[in-house]
């Protein structure tokens, strides 16, 4: 289910004084099974970009092709949304049904799937996000914030998307909730789903993703595996993104006489590298 984005640009309110070019000249290919971290400042165009991938927004210029279908083809919306699941920020506010089970079934129902298959999908999705079977027939509004969010994510998972896009999935969660969310996303990825995660947290992204796309002012600033992206500490800092704590440590040490390799970015790797250097002295 590859995604190709060619020369994509989107302009809000064209031809009015409020005209705003949100994204520009985006060229991107997303391969199957990738786990992409999308980072950027507020207003850098992340949200605009992800909404294009699931045909909620259509390009002003350029093309977005999902699995061979151009998103601007009329009536292609549902077909694309079947393949690309999008979980918005604070998805818990989209719950509306009487029971958790019914709410999760909303997506698959819209796809016109038969009852038996819907039931199977709903149960699978809810189990995946760690919601107890006893809760299935309760109102989603009685759950805790973290649980609500997981139910909302299950609502998208039940559509069995090949690509899952998550916009800040752990925003506003406590540390335990964040850890759980990380585990959940890893599980989803291990089921073979391509995952695109929008995040502000460099540490999360560096730990989880195998490709990082950095956006700045509507354009792609950096794109590559974490070890490549985190080499550019200065660029990242100049666009106020910061780098993972470990990369920062490496940078400081190097400035003061160490020469650690610049493609390491986890605390473990750095620890090993420092110990090795010290031993050699």
């Amino acid at each position: 289910m590859p995604v190709t984005i060619e020369n994509l640009a989107h302009v809000y309110a064209p031809g009015t004084p409020f005209e705003k070019r949100a994204i520009e000249k985006i060229n991107l290919t997303i391969k199957d099974g990738e786990f992409i971290g999308l980072i950027g400042h507020t207003g850098s165009g992340k949200s605009t970009l992800i909404q294009h991938i699931n045909a909620l927004m259509l390009p002003t210029e350029g093309k977005v092709i999902v699995n061979g279908i151009d998103t601007s083809t009329p009536k292609s919306g549902l077909e694309i949304r079947k393949n690309v699941g999008l979980v918005f920020q604070y998805p818990e506010y989209q719950l509306f049904e009487e029971t958790i089970e019914k709410d999760v079934a909303f997506g698959p129902k819209n796809l016109g799937i038969d009852e038996e298959e819907i039931r199977k999908r709903v149960h699978h999705a809810l189990r995946l996000v760690g919601i107890d079977e006893q809760l299935f027939h309760q109102s989603p509004f009685d759950l805790s914030g973290g649980q609500k969010r997981r139910v909302a994510i299950a609502g998208v998972l039940a559509m069995k998307p090949n690509i899952l896009i998550l916009d800040e999935p752990s925003a506003g969660l406590d540390p335990a909730g964040r850890a759980e969310m990380r585990r959940l996303i890893k599980d989803i990825k291990n089921e073979g789903t391509t995952v695109i995660m929008v995040s502000h947290s460099m540490d999360d992204v560096s730990k989880m993703c195998d490709r990082i796309i950095v956006m700045n002012k509507g354009r792609i600033a950096l794109d590559g595996p974490p070890c490549e992206v985190f080499k550019h500490t200065e660029l990242l800092e100049s666009i106020h993104l910061g780098v993972p704590a470990a990369s920062m440590l490496r940078e400081r040490l190097n400035k003061n006489g160490f020469d650690l390799p610049d493609d390491i970015y986890t605390i473990e790797e750095i620890k090993t590298a420092i110990l090795e250097k010290l031993k050699r002295r």
Partner: protein
């Protein structure tokens, strides 16, 4: 799509009219409305329209804004026009089909009603275009203050109005967000018959209401945390005061009303 809705479409500016006390403008508009309602002929309408046009020019609001604001009432105007056109009784029949007939009186009545409606909306628009919602509620609160003695909740009403106005953009934004989230789950808001479309609104309306209640709760809590306890003893950062321009405006609007009354008495149409 939802960004095109303009409610309380304030158009910022620094003309004399913008700077008038909101109370003046509310009373001014009231005079306008009274004048429109007591007018019996087109000459009065012409006078009022000319006056409204003058106000529009002074406040530097382009005609485009006014015309755009008239769009929502176009249907009502057309409806009253047709109703008056066909159903007025008179002897001067021009065309007749069964019960329906067009008379000269009918044409005159139809035009009269249409112009009256358009003028009414134009005048109230001049008020909302030149006065920010906050000022407007402030003005209303002060105007209603004397009625507090007979138990009229002036402050509470004004506070409710300003909160409601404040949350319109927030709710529009929220609607947009939820619409997108449900669309991402395959919801279809655009096709199907009336019943199907109404049903399709449920996934949108439930979260919207839940969110509105949550917001109301949070706001109440935040207001209480800042010791809000109604209007008693509360002072204003910018108390409203009448200035020279306000008295002039009063004079002018009163003159307009007098002229309209005089024209009516003299039966000059």
């Amino acid at each position: 799509m939802l960004n095109n809705i303009s409610i309380g479409q304030y158009f910022p500016g620094d003309s004399i009219i913008h700077k008038l006390d909101p109370r003046t403008k509310i009373l001014f508009t009231l005079m306008f409305i009274v004048s429109i309602f007591i007018s019996k002929g087109f000459l009065c309408f012409f006078l009022i329209a000319a006056f409204a046009y003058l106000c529009m020019r002074i406040s530097k609001i382009s005609l485009k804004f006014i015309v755009r604001g008239l769009k929502p009432i176009l249907f009502i105007v057309a409806f009253t026009f047709l109703l008056n056109l066909f159903l007025s009784s008179g002897d001067d029949v021009i065309v007749k089909w069964g019960v329906l007939s067009i008379t000269f009186t009918g044409i005159r009545n139809a035009l009269f009603m249409a112009v009256r409606l358009i003028l009414l909306v134009t005048c109230t628009q001049l008020l909302t275009l030149t006065t920010s919602p906050i000022q407007l509620t402030d003005g209303l609160e002060r105007l209603f203050t004397p009625f507090k003695k007979i138990g009229f909740p002036a402050h509470e009403l004004a506070m409710m109005m300003s909160i409601a106005l404040r949350f319109i953009p927030t709710l529009i934004e929220e609607t947009d967000k939820i619409t997108k989230a449900q669309k991402a789950r395959g919801a279809d808001f655009e096709s199907g018959g009336v019943i199907k479309r109404v049903k399709a609104m449920i996934p949108l309306l439930v979260p919207l209401f839940v969110g509105a209640f949550r917001r109301a709760d949070e706001l109440a809590m935040a207001m209480e945390a800042r010791c809000y306890r109604g209007g008693t003893g509360r002072t204003k950062m910018r108390p409203l005061t009448y200035r020279k321009a306000d008295y002039c405006a009063f004079g002018i609007s009163f003159m307009l009303l007098l002229v309209v009354i005089a024209l009516n008495i003299l039966n000059v149409f």
